[in-house]
C-alpha cells in the first residue's frame, strides 16, 4: 500500500479561473446578458429616436420595478429548489390590505380623484400592513413546504387561490380607489435625482437581495439547503426554519410590491397580476438560477426580468402585431434557456453532464469514485 507524501498538498489561494467561474455564476452566466445587449442594440438601431431615449429607458425601468421585487424573492425560493406560484395573488391581497389600512387611518376621505390627504405616518403603517399580510402568506407557504413537506408547487398553487379569494373577500371585489396622494405622487410617479422612486425601491431591494444572497451566511445557507437539504440539516443548519424564512421573504417582498403597485396605479388591481407568478419564475430561470436549487444569481434575475419587458416595448414601438408578441415571448424563453444550456455545456462538459444526470435523477453514488482525473497523481 502506497503511503502518500504530505508534499502533495499545495495551498492554493484563490486560483484565478474558478473565481472567474464563480463570478460568471453570480452574473447568471450564459447567454442572457449578451442576449439583452443584442435586443437593446437591435431596437436602438431600428428606432433610434424612440427606443433608446431617456424617457423610454426610465419607462422600462419603472415597468420592471414591481416584477423585479417579486423576482428577487422568487430567486431565493428557487435557489432552495422550491417554487412560489402565489406571489402575484399575495401581491394583490397585500395591496388590498395596505390600501384598506391607509384608507381607514386617513379618516373620512378628503378624497379627490380618489386620493386622500394621508401623511407619511399612515403610508408607513399601510406599507407595514401590506408587508405583514404578505409575510403571513409567505410563512404559511414556508411552514407547509418545510414542516408538512408538501411539494412547493402544490402548496403555492393552493395559496395562490386562497390569497386571491381573501383579497376578494376583504375588498368585496371592489378595488380600493382612494389612496394617499403623497404615496402616489412621491413614490408612484415621483422622482429622486432624476430617477423614478419606484426604481429606487426596486434597486434597493435588488442590491440588498444580491448582497445577502451572495455574500452572507443567510445566502450561502439558502444555496446549501437547495443543493442538499439533508447535508444542510446535518451541518447544523436549521433547515426548516431557513426554508420558512425564505418563503416568508418572498411573501414579504410580494407585500412590498403590493404597496408599490398601489403607489403606481393609485388603486388596487384585484383582477391583475394573475400571471406574475409565471413571469417571475421565467425571469429567474432565464437569469440562470437552477430550478433544481443550489445555483442562482440575482444579477441574472435582473436581466431575466428585463428581457421580456424590452421585447414587449420594442415590439410595440416597431408596431408588430400583438399576437406575434405572444408567440415571440414564448419562443425567446425557450431559445434563451436552450442557448444558455449549450454554452454552459460547452464550457464544462463533464460537470454539466454529471449534474444533469443527477438532476434527471438517476440515483448517483455520491461517495462514488472520481469522475475527474485531478486526483490521479
Amino acid at each position: 500500500m502506497t503511503t502518500f507524501t504530505k508534499t502533495d498538498a499545495v495551498q492554493v489561494e484563490a486560483a484565478a479561473e474558478p473565481l472567474a467561474a464563480r463570478w460568471n455564476r453570480r452574473l447568471g452566466g450564459g447567454w442572457i446578458f449578451p442576449l439583452m445587449i443584442l435586443l437593446f442594440a437591435l431596437f436602438t438601431a431600428l428606432r433610434p429616436g424612440q427606443f433608446a431615449t431617456p424617457f423610454n429607458l426610465s419607462t422600462l425601468a419603472v415597468d420592471a420595478s414591481i416584477l423585479l421585487v417579486l423576482s428577487i424573492g422568487q430567486t431565493y425560493v428557487i435557489a432552495t429548489a422550491g417554487i412560489d406560484l402565489s406571489v402575484g395573488t399575495v401581491l394583490v391581497l397585500s395591496s388590498v390590505v395596505g390600501a384598506k389600512v391607509m384608507l381607514a387611518l386617513s379618516g373620512t376621505s378628503g378624497a379627490t380623484y380618489g386620493t386622500t390627504a394621508a401623511g407619511w405616518g399612515v403610508i408607513a403603517l399601510g406599507t407595514l400592513a401590506a408587508v405583514a399580510a404578505g409575510s403571513v402568506f409567505g410563512a404559511l407557504n414556508g411552514v407547509l413546504v418545510a414542516c408538512a413537506r408538501i411539494p412547493a408547487l402544490i402548496v403555492t398553487l393552493g395559496t395562490f387561490g386562497m390569497a386571491l379569494g381573501f383579497a376578494q373577500l376583504l375588498s368585496d371585489g371592489q378595488d380600493v380607489r382612494a389612496v394617499p396622494q403623497k404615496l402616489v405622487a412621491a413614490i408612484g410617479s415621483g422622482r429622486l435625482l432624476g430617477i423614478p422612486s419606484l426604481v429606487w425601491v426596486a434597486l434597493a431591494v435588488t442590491v440588498v437581495g444580491g448582497l445577502v444572497l451572495h455574500t452572507t451566511r443567510f445566502g450561502s445557507r439558502t444555496f446549501a439547503v437547495g443543493s442538499n437539504a439533508e447535508a444542510a440539516r446535518r451541518a447544523g443548519i436549521p433547515n426548516r426554519s431557513h426554508l420558512v424564512k425564505v418563503y416568508l421573504l418572498s411573501g414579504a417582498l410580494a407585500g412590498l410590491a403590493g404597496t408599490m403597485s398601489v403607489a403606481r396605479f393609485a388603486t388596487t388591481t384585484i383582477n391583475g397580476h394573475t400571471t406574475d407568478n409565471l413571469s417571475s419564475i421565467s425571469a429567474v430561470v432565464l437569469g440562470g438560477t437552477s430550478l433544481f436549487g443550489g445555483i442562482g444569481s440575482i444579477f441574472g434575475t435582473v436581466i431575466g426580468v428585463f428581457i421580456p419587458i424590452i421585447l414587449l416595448n420594442g415590439f410595440v414601438i416597431l408596431g408588430i402585431q400583438p399576437f406575434w408578441q405572444t408567440v415571440a415571448m414564448g419562443a425567446v424563453l425557450i431559445v434563451a434557456v436552450y442557448a444558455d444550456q449549450l454554452k454552459r455545456h460547452a464550457a464544462q462538459r463533464g460537470e454539466r453532464h454529471r449534474l444533469r444526470s443527477r438532476l434527471t435523477r438517476r440515483p448517483p453514488s455520491p461517495a462514488s469514485p472520481s469522475h475527474h482525473g485531478e486526483e490521479t497523481p
Binding site: R22, T216, R217, E230, A231, R233, R234
Partner: protein, 255 residues
C-alpha cells in the same frame, strides 16, 4: 484502560415495524480508532446517526465523559465535540469545498457587518487551504463546486470537515467504500493523523483486512445489538466474521 469517552447504553430505535437498534451499546475510549462492524442492516448507521444527533433514540442513554447527554440536533452533538462523516455523503454538491467545510459554522467578518452575517470568504478560503494542507489533502482550488471533485477528494473534504469541528469523537461511516487502493491508503492515513491529534475515531467498514490493519479495538453489532468486542491482536478475520454472522449471544470477549 482509561475511562470511556463516549458510552451508549441500551439504545433502541424502531422504524415502523423494523427494529433497527434493539438495545445497542457502544463504548469509545479517548484517542483510539474503534472499528464498528456488522452486516448490512445491523444498525451501524442508525447508531452513528443517533450518536451524532441526526436521529433520536426511542430508548437508551448516552454518556459523554461520564455525563449523560441528549442531542436534539446535529448542532448539539457538534457543540459537544462530535462530528460525523456520513455514509451517504453529506455535502452540498453545488457549493465549493471551502463553503462545505464551514457549512453551518460560517466565518463572518469582524465588526457590525459580521453580526449581519457577512461572510469572511478570504479567511474561510485561507483556513480551509491550511487545513487541507495539514491533513495532506490536495485540491486544485477550494473554490470549485464539490460536484466536480473526485470521490476520493469529496471523501477528504468530508473528513476534513469532521476534523475541523470535532475535538472528541469522529464517526466515519464506510469512508473508503468506493475508493481505490491509493485513495483508501490516504484516507486511512487521515484517520490515523486525526487519532494522533487525540481525537477518537469510530470507523465503520465492511473490509475486514482494513479493520484489522487500522483499528485499536473492534465492536461488533448484529441485529441492532452489540454481540462482541475485540482488542487489537485478539481479532482475526475469521473471528470477526463469526461474530458478525453467528446467532446473537451475550457479549463474548469483553476487552
Amino acid at each position: 484502560m482509561t475511562a470511556p469517552l463516549l458510552e451508549a447504553r441500551g439504545l433502541v430505535r424502531r422504524f415502523g415495524h423494523v427494529q433497527a437498534l434493539d438495545g445497542a451499546d457502544l463504548t469509545v475510549y479517548p484517542g483510539e480508532i474503534c472499528a464498528l462492524i456488522g452486516d448490512n442492516g445491523a444498525g451501524k448507521s442508525t447508531l452513528v446517526k443517533i450518536l451524532s444527533g441526526a436521529e433520536r433514540p426511542d430508548e437508551g442513554t448516552i454518556h459523554l465523559n461520564g455525563e449523560e447527554v441528549a442531542f436534539s440536533s446535529p448542532a448539539d452533538a457538534q457543540r459537544a465535540g462530535i462530528a460525523t462523516v456520513y455514509q451517504d455523503l453529506a455535502l452540498a454538491p453545488e457549493l465549493a469545498a471551502a463553503d462545505n467545510l464551514f457549512l453551518g459554522r460560517e466565518l463572518t467578518v469582524p465588526g457590525p457587518l459580521g453580526r449581519l452575517g457577512v461572510l469572511d470568504r478570504r479567511r474561510m478560503r485561507r483556513e480551509s487551504a491550511a487545513l487541507f494542507q495539514s491533513l495532506g489533502v490536495y485540491l486544485k482550488s477550494p473554490d470549485v463546486p464539490i460536484a466536480s471533485l473526485s470521490g476520493g477528494q469529496r471523501q477528504s473534504v468530508a473528513i476534513a470537515r469532521a476534523a475541523l469541528w470535532s475535538d472528541k469523537v469522529i464517526f466515519m461511516d464506510e469512508p473508503t467504500a468506493a475508493l481505490g487502493v491509493v485513495q483508501t491508503g490516504r484516507v486511512l492515513d487521515l484517520v490515523r493523523s486525526v487519532r494522533d491529534r487525540g481525537i477518537a475515531v469510530v470507523l465503520i467498514s465492511h473490509n475486514m483486512t482494513q479493520v484489522l490493519e487500522v483499528a485499536d479495538r473492534v465492536e461488533v453489532l448484529r441485529l441492532g445489538r452489540r454481540v462482541a468486542r475485540f482488542a487489537r491482536g485478539e481479532a482475526s478475520v475469521d473471528r470477526l466474521v463469526t461474530a458478525m454472522t453467528s446467532a446473537p449471544s451475550t457479549e463474548e470477549n469483553a476487552p
